[in-house]
């Protein structure tokens, strides 16, 4: 008996990724991977395609059971038609792991000879010995109940469970090594008039995933943000994603600032440096592009683990810059370029950037 689910699954994945059957795209309930982002958790909607049929419009409430409080936390009506988005809550570590599996990313090997690792305790196990303060109530209760039933001392009309020493279970820890090395991520973005909201959204999503992945591999991660139009300035995260300037684009100004930050504040032997630059590829003049290549080769590339350049497709940009950089790529394996045509390309770009395991 042979099952053909792999073919069906592959076909489904291709539809979701928008490679085939574009007409079904509008029925995909969620094509983006980040749903809600809470404090430590993110929700990932699992994509579903719903073929159209005759169905009712607005949700109509429903029937529940229990006391008043039992309704709390109900996000959606149970029998509301059309609400089929399945959301999964995950911690950031799990998320990084899943992303790594989905995109088949290699683990990052921190550079430098002294790969110091520290150990960290995780309370993830149960043992028979331990301090009272770590007693696992549920397991202890179960053990005691099991023993009393087995020994016939359980009285169902007076279900009083008394644990003895052997019943007790305690939380226990496992020691896990964690890398000690630190990383710096510098994000640079072109905020000239030609970068619209859609382009910024793409940059935001891409940087979220890059953050998630790199943070999973280093103990301390610092992020710095640089925006530039004709001049560059360092800003905080909030400003980075929400500034909109007009005016021209001089990319070398940002590279200059970036080179200075790395050179002055982050000693080479202690930091793994990652630099990502997003732009629509429209630089002021060819002369400036030459200067950029010079700065890259001279000050930035020797210091970084990885330099990623993402070119976001926009209606205004000429997209020339990436072609200039590609001539450098051939010589420098630390430089990665990627073109992002739309939201669907985000994963491809992340794979381009992080697929080298640096």
């Amino acid at each position: 008996m042979v099952l053909n689910i792999e073919q069906d699954h592959l076909r489904f994945r291709e539809i979701v990724r928008g490679r085939i059957k574009q007409d079904l795209k509008k029925y995909i309930s969620n094509s983006e991977m980040i749903g809600r982002k809470g404090k430590d958790f993110v929700s990932i909607p699992v994509p579903q395609i719903e073929l159209p049929n005759f169905r009712f419009g607005s949700p109509q409430g429903g029937v529940g059971q229990g006391d008043e409080g039992d309704l709390n936390g109900t996000g959606q009506a149970g029998n509301s038609p059309g609400a089929h988005i399945l959301e999964v809550d995950l911690s950031m570590d799990e998320l990084a792991q899943i992303m790594g599996e989905e995109l088949e990313l290699p683990r990052i090997e921190p550079k430098g000879t002294d790969r110091i690792t520290t150990v960290k305790d995780k309370y993830s196990q149960v043992s028979r010995t331990g301090p009272e303060s770590l007693r696992h109530f549920k397991r202890t209760y179960r053990q005691a109940l099991r023993r009393q039933i087995a020994s016939g001392t359980y009285n169902s009309s007076n279900p009083c469970i008394v644990p003895i020493h052997e019943d007790k279970r305690f939380l226990s820890w496992k020691t896990k090594p964690r890398p000690e090395s630190s990383a710096l991520i510098v994000y640079m973005m072109d905020v000239s008039g030609s970068m619209g909201d859609e382009q910024k959204e793409i940059v935001r999503t891409t940087s979220f995933w890059i953050d998630t992945w790199i943070r999973a591999h280093y103990k301390g991660v610092q992020t710095r943000f640089i925006i530039h139009d004709a001049v560059a300035q360092e800003v905080d995260r909030e400003t980075f994603f929400h500034t909109r300037e007009s005016g021209g684009t001089v990319i070398s100004s940002a590279y200059e600032l970036c080179g200075r930050i790395i050179g002055e504040e982050y000693p080479e032997d202690q930091w793994n440096v990652y630099v990502f630059h997003f732009s629509d590829g429209d630089n002021w003049s060819g002369g400036d592009t030459g200067r950029c290549v010079e700065l890259l080769k001279g000050t930035i590339l020797p210091r970084v683990n990885l330099f990623g350049y993402g070119q976001v497709d926009s209606t205004y940009g000429s997209g020339q810059f990436v072609r200039e950089l590609e001539t450098v790529v051939a010589e420098e394996d630390k430089l990665v370029t990627s073109c992002i045509e739309g939201k669907d390309d985000i994963f491809k770009t992340i794979k381009d950037f992080l697929g080298k395991g640096k």
Binding site: D8, R11, P52, F54, V63, A77, V88
Partner: protein, 501 residues
């Protein structure tokens, strides 16, 4: 995600499990359950997800929707959201699957649960017309679609399948049990098409009373007028209507009829979800607690069972509702809590302590499982006391507070709400009323509006799909925000206008 590359390996039961199975089967029969031979197979979780994605059948036609379901199941299993414990197929013999990594106590529970389902499949009247060799039929469908793909190409066949699947709800779930179409009235043509009995003149007024003749004449007239109209009576089985009258190619007809067969096969399962799950839960609880459990398994059983019948916020758990109703029925008929005298008693304490010791519970259980479906089941047995004891309520969205809240606890409203959700499975009632609309061979559908509007964007896309089968413009009469509207699609653009009566 892990993708399984090995073909499905079917494992028969280990001697230990087979021993348990035999015992449980004997107990189930002793309790009076009656089922086809049931074959259990053991699968690992990857295989279980595959089979579940295919709706329980190992061989289905190729389509991405199964891949989608597989991904959903695999992801939610991997993230610990849920786990499929059991799966059982309505077939003769019944097939049921056990999850390899389950503990023995879970396997016992699942077996007992499965025998409950098998009994229900075999004996509930709504399942009586289902294809009991569906395992083979599904495999044939798969082969047929694969051959069609070889001949006409994946793109064309898949696009057609998508269209059919978008329409698969448009069947008439009761058509197997009732005569929808009036038997053709054969007019005995003698004089003027009237069935006049020849008689001598002086008796004629008595033997052929004029008013009878007049009535017959009228009826013939109506018949004639009706026949001009096509379809003569509104057709609920839209898939059948398209099969018979749409200009489809042979392979398209094959596929549409296949989708329709499968929709009819699955329909009774949706029609009896509450009863069927409740019934299986009732029997696993009974068999486990009275026979199969060992002392050391009690806790795990209780843990698992309470998980099965737990109510989650905002959802009506069919296992729980069904289970409680079955227990309530048994209790009421054991104590004689039914009939005129009981119904008319309005003293709450007397009603509560009512016990005539008639002991009809078991008989009533088996009778109910034979003749009811979810709608009649709820209608007959969901009463005030039950609603009160189990604290049911209606919730509704409160726009001012921006959340859902309890709106009503009156048992009549709750019952009404549950029944409304079950009527036509919470889907709108749609039928074909005219296949020669405006005398241009266009198709007119009608939505029987009962208070809730259609979701318009989906309705328009569905119209497009019907258009591609019918190949002439398609319209649907519905109500949008209180106004009668006619939505239409003519192959190029969507039309919307006020419907004239």
């Amino acid at each position: 995600m892990e993708i399984l590359t090995s073909p499905l390996t079917v494992r028969t039961l280990s001697p230990e499990l087979e021993g348990m199975r035999k015992k449980i089967e004997v107990w189930a029969r002793e309790y009076g359950l009656d089922f086809y031979e049931t074959i259990f197979e053991v699968l690992d979780y990857g295989e279980m997800n595959m089979v579940a994605a295919y709706g329980g059948f190992p061989n289905r036609y190729p389509h991405w929707k199964f891949g989608m379901e597989y991904e959903r199941l695999t992801k939610s299993y991997a993230y610990g959201l849920h786990k499929i414990y059991e799966m059982v197929i309505n077939n003769d013999p019944c097939y049921a699957y056990l999850l390899e990594c389950n503990h023995n106590v879970d396997q016992k529970l699942v077996m007992a649960h499965v025998y409950g389902h098998c009994d229900f499949f075999k004996n509930n009247i709504w399942f009586s017309k289902t294809n009991r060799k569906m395992m083979d039929t599904m495999a044939n469908h798969a082969t047929k679609v694969r051959k069609t793909i070889d001949r006409h190409g994946l793109e064309a066949v898949e696009a057609f399948l998508d269209r059919c699947l978008s329409l698969e709800d448009l069947i008439d779930r009761h058509s197997m049990f009732i005569q929808r179409h009036r038997k053709e009235h054969e007019p005995q043509t003698e004089q003027n098409g009237l069935s006049k009995i020849s008689s001598s003149e002086y008796m004629d007024g008595y033997i052929n009373p004029p008013e009878v003749l007049a009535r017959e004449k009228l009826r013939n007239e109506q018949d004639r007028r009706r026949r001009k109209h096509f379809p003569e009576e509104p057709a609920r089985d839209i898939l059948l209507f398209l099969l018979e009258h749409a200009p489809l190619e042979d392979w398209q007809q094959d596929i549409l009829s296949m989708i329709r067969d499968e929709a009819y096969y699955f329909a009774p399962q949706a029609q009896t979800k509450i009863m069927n799950e409740g019934w299986a839960t009732y029997w696993h609880a009974k068999i486990m607690t009275e026979k199969a459990l060992t002392d050391m398994e009690v806790i795990d059983f209780a843990d698992h069972h309470s998980g099965t019948v737990a109510m989650h916020p905002g959802q009506l758990n069919p296992y729980k509702l069904g289970f409680e109703l079955w227990k309530d029925i048994e209790d009421r008929w054991n104590k004689g809590k039914f009939g005129k005298e009981y119904d008319q008693c309005d003293d709450w304490m007397t009603k509560r302590n009512w016990d005539t010791n008639v002991g009809l519970g078991k008989q009533k259980l088996f009778e109910t499982r034979r003749v009811h479906n979810d709608i009649t089941f709820i209608d007959a047995f969901f009463n005030e006391e039950f609603c009160h004891v189990h604290k049911f309520f209606i919730y509704a969205y409160n726009a001012d507070r921006g959340g859902y809240e309890v709106a009503d606890r009156d048992w009549r409203s709750v019952k009404q709400k549950i029944l409304a959700g079950l009527t036509n499975f919470g889907q709108p009632v749609i039928q074909v009323v005219d296949a020669n609309f405006e005398n241009r061979g266009e198709l007119l559908l009608e939505h029987k509006h009962d208070g809730a509007d259609l979701r318009l964007d989906y309705a328009r896309d569905t119209l497009e799909n019907i258009f591609h089968l019918w190949t002439r413009p398609v319209h649907i009469k519905t109500v949008v925000e209180g106004k009668e509207k006619l939505l239409g699609y003519d192959g190029e653009s969507h039309l919307e206008r006020i419907a004239d009566a």
